[in-house]
């Protein structure tokens, strides 16, 4: 259930000395969406996220929620999981979640109920009196996520939520984020694991050097790309037939199989003819780039 835009990031600029962290960075986040926030290291993702929480003061530009400026009361409806994880090591995990719930304006009983519910969800209900430092790394990560969600936020901002998780943890995290979005929460997360993002996200934003270089639905971005990937395998013979295709570059060559990056308006009939002349076609695919390829094209790497 994709809704109207609630979070608006409007032409943020931020410099740290000579380093430009954000350079006219703008994007919108609708309600009930899972938005993948992508970009190479140092692209300004963390700075942009911190700006939403007032942790960084932009040199110019603004962030708005529901059409209005964000003050400290509005921020209480947001949940944040920073890239650098951290909670109180010696505090009991249930107490800790209740504390964060109450800091976000919940009453004590509501915070207690929510903390208990989340710990149950993560299978930690027998550990409520454990101190954080006594938990395994994976469980600490779960408590961290619970701390971001305990107050049932309307906006969830997660910096690299999948880093350091094993495949089962990744699946569980993905499931939680999808449910949050389905409940109408606007979810923004950054990740370098583009296969996960491709499976999970409705929309993505790609930033590079502090600017948004790509934004939109994953499927649109893929088909909008001027490039296509041609994957052909012929029976016997070599792949020299492919050398004549104009505007192509070889991505991978392996015996009689070849993967090429080609123009989207390639004359496919001619390619099929050339390939069949070399040998019977065993495999033929002509696809838009996947998200990783779109990403690499966008950031020029």
């Amino acid at each position: 259930m994709e809704g109207a835009t609630v979070l608006e990031i409007e032409s943020l600029h931020k410099r740290y000395g000579d380093v430009v962290a954000l350079d006219d960075c703008s994007f919108d986040v609708p309600r009930g969406t899972l938005l993948g926030f992508l970009g190479p290291n140092g692209a300004g993702k963390t700075t942009a996220m911190r700006t939403v929480f007032g942790l960084v003061r932009p040199d110019s530009g603004r962030v708005r929620w529901d059409g209005a400026a964000i003050d400290s009361d509005v921020r209480l409806r947001f949940g944040y999981m920073p890239e650098q994880r951290g909670l109180y090591q010696r505090m009991k995990i249930h107490d800790q979640l209740v504390y964060f719930g109450r800091l976000h304006g919940m009453t004590r009983p509501a915070a207690q109920a929510s903390a208990t519910r989340w710990l149950g969800e993560f299978g930690l209900n027998d550990r409520i009196d454990s101190r954080l430092e006594a938990l395994s790394h994976g469980n600490q990560q779960r408590v961290q996520l619970a701390a971001a969600m305990v107050h049932e936020p309307e906006l969830l901002v997660l910096d690299e939520p999948f880093s350091g998780l094993d495949p089962i943890g990744v699946e569980a995290m993905a499931g939680i984020l999808q449910r949050q979005a389905a409940d109408g929460v606007a979810v923004v997360f950054s990740s370098h694991q583009l296969d996960i993002v491709e499976d999970l996200c409705d929309d993505v934003i790609v930033v590079n050097k502090g600017r948004v270089v790509l934004a939109g639905a994953v499927a649109d971005l893929r088909s909008r790309s001027p490039r296509r990937y041609l994957d052909v395998e012929t029976a016997g013979g070599d792949n020299a037939w492919a050398d004549g295709i104009a505007g192509s570059s070889v991505v991978m060559r392996n015996g009689s199989r070849i993967r090429l990056s080609v123009d989207a308006d390639l004359d496919l009939a001619a390619v099929v003819a050339a390939a069949s002349a070399a040998g019977e076609i065993r495999h033929f695919s002509f696809e838009p780039p996947n998200l990783s390829e779109v990403f690499r094209e966008a950031v020029g790497q």
Binding site: L55, S72, M81, G86, R90, M91, H104, G105, A148
Partner: protein, 392 residues
């Protein structure tokens, strides 16, 4: 959500997490034991109960001498035993070896190093009085004549103001209070410093600051840890005063309660000021190892304030007078000037106003440094960068 409830939540968390820690409970118990021991233990080496005085007398003592001395002694139930001694030599050696507290040989009162001053004075007066009345009887004067004769030469001392040693007593109590206050501010200031660096080092601060504005977090921490410190201070202070007031070997001046109250008030004010500064210092570093360096200038200022306070033993002076008004030094100097009665009412009032205003200002300033410093990880953040890095 209002500012107060978040500040309160932060304060309660900091208070509770520390109060329930084994380290805190242990350190409180050990300090209480040390302070208590310091007051009680010397009492074991001092004889308890009313004095028992042994008087050696060369020859035959007047029958009423012992009783008369005992009756005139300040301690009730004082017992005086008068023992006849054979000769002057025996009296001297008896006093010197401690057999007698004092000895009388004719008109000589023989005293040694252990002789109580009160005893020798009482003995001289009583023996003299007995001699006088015996002489008067032999001259044929009756009791009424003797009384009027004595009354003619009697003078009395009228105390217009308590002697200086009472003021000195107040000064000593106040100074001990200030030592206590100094140690407390340093100790609990360290807690603040460690607590802030801990939050920064564990990165939890980024999550907290996503919801709480920096100056509220700062104020909550100062209140929470300050309340815990005050609780510990009151507990140990009460133990000290109760034990001291029951102990026979220590005498507390009358103004002790007022001085204790002043110490508590100035602790609260002084702690708020210094703790805020400690928090700002802590926000500039990322590791506990660097914390002491960042806080060094503050420790220096505290030490200086303490040394100025110790000038008070030479009496009131200009340095002390000024220091008692300056917010950084007032918590340690004003209680002493108040205890000795040197501070005028307007000085106390002005000092309080300056103190509260500067603390409020510092919280706003430190809040901004705190905000700018907390999210910078790695090497120590320069004060100016922190200032520019954030909104308050």
């Amino acid at each position: 959500m209002n500012a107060f409830s978040q500040t309160w939540l932060v304060a309660v968390r900091d208070f509770r997490e520390r109060a329930t820690s084994r380290a805190f409970q242990l350190s409180t118990a050990i300090t209480a034991l040390l302070v208590g021991g310091f007051i009680v233990v010397p009492g074991f080496f001092i004889e308890d109960g009313p004095p028992m005085w042994d008087v050696g007398y060369v020859g035959t003592a007047p029958a009423a001498l012992g009783q008369a001395v005992a009756a005139a002694a300040t301690e009730p139930d004082t017992a005086v035993t008068v023992t006849p001694v054979a000769d002057a030599g025996a009296a001297r050696s008896g006093v010197l070896d401690g057999t007698y507290d004092v000895a009388v040989d004719g008109h000589d009162i023989l005293t040694g190093p252990a002789t109580p001053q009160e005893l020798s004075a009482l003995l001289a007066a009583t023996a003299g009085g007995l001699d006088l009345s015996r002489q008067a009887r032999e001259m044929g004067l009756d009791a009424a004549d003797l009384e009027s004769l004595l009354a003619a030469g009697r003078y009395q001392v009228v105390e217009l103001e308590p002697a200086d040693d009472e003021e000195d007593g107040n000064r000593v109590v106040a100074f001990f209070g200030v030592v206590f206050l100094f140690v407390s501010i340093v100790t609990y200031g360290q807690w603040i410093l460690i607590g802030v660096v801990e939050e920064k080092a564990s990165r939890v601060v980024e999550v907290v600051l996503g919801a709480v504005r920096p100056h509220r977090l700062l104020t909550g921490k100062v209140i929470g840890i300050g309340a815990l410190g005050l609780g510990q201070l009151l507990l140990i202070g009460t133990i000290a005063i109760v034990l001291a007031s029951r102990s026979t070997n220590l005498e507390l001046p009358e103004a002790t309660a007022a001085t204790a109250l002043a110490i508590v008030v100035w602790f609260v004010l002084g702690f708020a000021l210094y703790a805020t500064a400690y928090a700002a210092a802590g926000s500039l570093v990322s590791r506990q190892e660097d914390a002491q360096n960042a806080a060094f200038p503050l420790t220096l200022v505290l030490m200086a304030a303490y040394f100025i306070a110790s000038f008070s033993f030479t009496g009131d002076n200009v340095v002390l007078r000024v220091a008692a008004l300056v917010p950084l030094t007032a918590p340690m100097t004003m209680p002493i000037r108040m205890a000795t009665g040197d501070a005028a009412g307007w000085e106390v009032l002005l000092s309080l106003v300056l103190m509260v205003t500067s603390t409020w200002l510092l919280i706003r300033l430190a809040g901004r440094i705190y905000a700018g410093g907390l999210l910078r990880v790695g090497s120590r953040v320069k004060l100016r960068e922190a200032w520019r890095g954030a909104e308050a």
